[in-house]
Symmetry: C2
Subunit: 495 residues, 2 copies
């Protein structure tokens, strides 16, 4: 791990007073909730990226006050803090790249208050997303953010990355579904932000400032989540198109009428080919020969109106004329069993990708919906130019594309080709007025690319905000926003 | 106007170099777009509050670059800047309380880009809200924020106050309906925040930080607005209840089922009495004798499903049993003419209030929806205790209550009673876990009360952010967040 020596946010790589810090923290954390043991420190040094660096101390606080004491102690000793939920992030956001204290939030999993009559639940942020869904669904509600990892990921992780998953197209992202929060800033101060109400304009909006900050400004300890009544009916449309261009036109039509689908997922032709060639039972997938793109369109609503909504959405998926639509086939699943069967084709994709390229690079770019076909065309060209296999799927209704580079990073030639291809992917996304990450976050892995998206003057203001919340640079150093001074370009790199 | 002398953000009251500043600004602003003329400076010294202070210089920029040059010039001369749209705000946010430059945004009214296929429009922020609606409706869309003043107010004003109006209950507030923006910070730097996409987590969320900041961090010059497809059908339910308690229970039921109304407006018993006693044609209002509260419930959606939605909403408005509901009467208007007739009763209210108390105090508090009855009961008690007539109406689905104190502020006794009553209103709202302003903003008039809502440690972070964006305190001084040091309490005040 290279450390920039002369910029804000950098810290010494060894911390003289770790022993003293551990002793101080042990005064309020019992032995079963603090550890310096090598195995534990190693285990909490990883997440779902390929990065790893062991922690020096691992702490398991139970409440806001304990988190605050941890931050104050660490700040006194200038030791960095990395906060983690369940480590499902793919950008290295919860890997303690400079060692120090890892604050593990998953024992902070209490529901503090559930008020269905006010459409809100207040939770500690270490609670698992699926547990929130289970609790609120009993009263007829759901919390719209539900990333694919929702059985495992914490609400705190969802907030840190503004990760929302497939239903954001209808229900908004995490920042649209949080009313307020409590946090500890890098200064050790308690932040109380937002409201218990859906309107409010007192003070500056620190709620959304902390959401998506990936733990670089502070640690969100509690959150008041805005709940939505559960739809009581659901169905799933599976539509095959000859190519991504035709599928993207369908997405534009779907977004251009009042019945917004609950999700619009897409799979490109390369991914369909992989599914066909690697399935043990390709007939069961029922992918038409000529299919070059697949849309999975979820419709939800009240049972009384679902049929009407589905008609509108189906019409948009088909298009008005044969020429416009170029649809190959369309099926509608109406029962849970039928829906599970249709999803099976989509779910077969991830295991297949892992099989083909266990260490694939998975990016999470976003472009305006109408420009998805341009991006897909460009991605095909980039793949060809650099001899890198690229497979795309994602959340089409948001223009959020998971770009998978199927390479072996341990092969230096493949790794170099992937680096070059990736740089072109990112510059293409920015040329299309897109953004480099929809919800996986920046973490460590995308950090240096951020300079291409955020103008220097704007970045300077972000550094100013970072300095206000975390003057000593102890909160998740080396993540999210690049240092004020760009590192020297590597020889032979275009960037 | 009292100025705190020793705190950040305060400026000298006279500006030695106004002449030099005017000369510099005249280099890039032609004579018809800059003025020091007393009449003009007087005219741009007011808004829809009762505050007034003349400007020293009034500037009418046409684009971002001109705004940036104005800010840089003013900063060089340490002269404050107050930004205004059409001055419809009621909290004094656009009154230049310390003189200086008033930047009038209403000539910056251009549509920069309209892309229905990406559900977005990019505008200069001086454009009128209703003009945006007119342009986007031609393509089948609307922009959900529509404050009552939408025929007159600018998008920039909507962003400055996060003002959204009645439809926020279904479609969210302004911050949920903006994708990105361009601004000039108080440093003179250009801020480019957000994306053209509905997902994005690159950098810190400066978009929502600037929304609701009331021009104290910078001037928002351009905004990318997120559009929503227009519903193609609409109806209006008018339901009378014996008291606010019964009406509030109906609101809770309405918010506890999947068919969220497009608006839930309420009018309390005092307001109904006023309407009855002051109408020239009370029979036309058709307010039942026993009515103590009125709900106006707007339903929108696709024509195919509107009837089903309306059935669900009507059932919630009625309640399951007689005891629960205590509904007096319920009517449904289905044609534009019928709807206009029903709205007429509601629209009769504002002129009546003006007639009774031309200089009434209008507050804009919010409490969690289930606590609206507690607030209404408390307001009745406060009114009685201080002999102040209080009339309430507002956006019940958000718990956003317009509390009107019908007093004559020119009568010292009434004014003192109103001050005391207001302090109790605010402390009651905070005790109910509400917030002091839903969307009118803090401006100058509510600024000192903010200390009661925002904890000192959190306020300190907000001051830090203010300092990053506006180190010289030139952007709308004396507004939004209170100074770091509280002013001395007035003798005889409990606060």
């Amino acid at each position: 791990m290279t450390i920039q020596g002369d910029v804000p946010g950098s810290l010494p790589q060894s911390y003289a007073s770790l022993g003293a810090l551990f002793a101080e923290m042990s005064e309020f954390l019992p032995a079963d909730r603090i550890s310096r043991e090598a195995g534990t420190c190693w285990a909490y040094g990883m997440d779902n990226s390929r990065l790893h660096h062991p922690a020096d101390i691992v702490a398991f606080p139970l409440d806001h006050d304990e988190v605050q004491r941890v931050v104050r102690c660490a700040r006194r000793h200038s030791v960095p803090i990395t906060t983690r939920g369940r480590g499902t992030g793919t950008a290295g956001g919860s890997v303690p790249l400079q060692g120090g204290v890892v604050v593990v939030m998953d024992r902070m999993n209490q529901v503090l208050e559930f008020r269905p009559e006010d459409r809100l639940i207040r939770v500690q942020t270490g609670i698992i997303n699926a547990d929130v869904q289970r609790i609120v669904s009993a009263a007829g509600f759901f919390w719209p953010p539900d990333p694919t990892s929702n059985a495992l990921c914490t609400v705190g992780g969802n907030l840190g990355c503004n990760a929302a998953g497939p239903h954001a197209v209808k229900y908004g992202t995490t920042r649209e579904n949080v009313l307020g929060l409590k946090a500890v800033a890098g200064t050790g101060a308690t932040v109380i932000a937002g409201t218990e109400t859906t309107k409010g304009v007192v003070g500056y909006d620190l709620t959304r400032l902390l959401i998506g900050a990936e733990g670089t400004l502070g640690i969100i300890t509690e959150a008041t989540l805005k709940l939505t009544p559960l739809p009581d009916a659901r169905c799933l449309i599976r539509a095959f198109y000859p190519n991504m261009h035709a599928a993207s036109q369908a997405v534009s039509r779907l977004m251009n009428q009042p019945a917004t689908p609950a999700a619009i997922e897409f799979i490109d032709g390369n991914a369909l080919n992989l599914m066909r060639s690697h399935s043990t039972n390709p007939d069961a997938l029922a992918i038409p020969e000529s299919a070059g793109a697949l849309l999975m369109i979820e419709v939800d609503g009240m049972s009384e109106s679902l049929a009407n909504q589905t008609d509108l959405i189906q019409a948009a998926a088909r298009g008005d004329t044969d020429e416009q639509a170029a649809l190959i086939s369309l099926e509608i699943a109406r029962t849970p069993q039928e829906m599970a069967l249709l999803w099976s084709a989509r779910k077969a994709l991830s295991p297949t990708l892992r099989l083909v390229a266990p260490k694939k690079i998975n990016e999470d770019v976003v472009v305006p919906v109408s420009r998805v076909p341009l991006l897909i065309t460009a991605l095909d060209e980039i793949a060809l130019r650099h001899s890198v296999k690229i497979v795309n799927f994602g959340h089409a209704g948001n223009g959020n594309i998971h770009v998978n580079l199927l390479i072996d990073p341990d092969d230096p030639a493949q790794s170099a080709a992937a680096d070059d291809a990736l740089a072109e992917v990112f510059s293409t996304v920015l040329a299309l007025k897109g953004t480099l990450s929809g919800e996986h976050g920046i973490g460590a892995v995308k950090r240096e690319y951020i300079r291409d998206e955020i103008a220097p003057e704007t970045l300077l203001l972000m550094h100013g905000i970072k300095h206000v919340f975390d003057p000593d640079g102890i909160m998740n150093p080396g993540k999210k926003i690049p240092d004020a001074i760009a590192p020297p370009a590597k020889p032979g790199k275009s960037k």
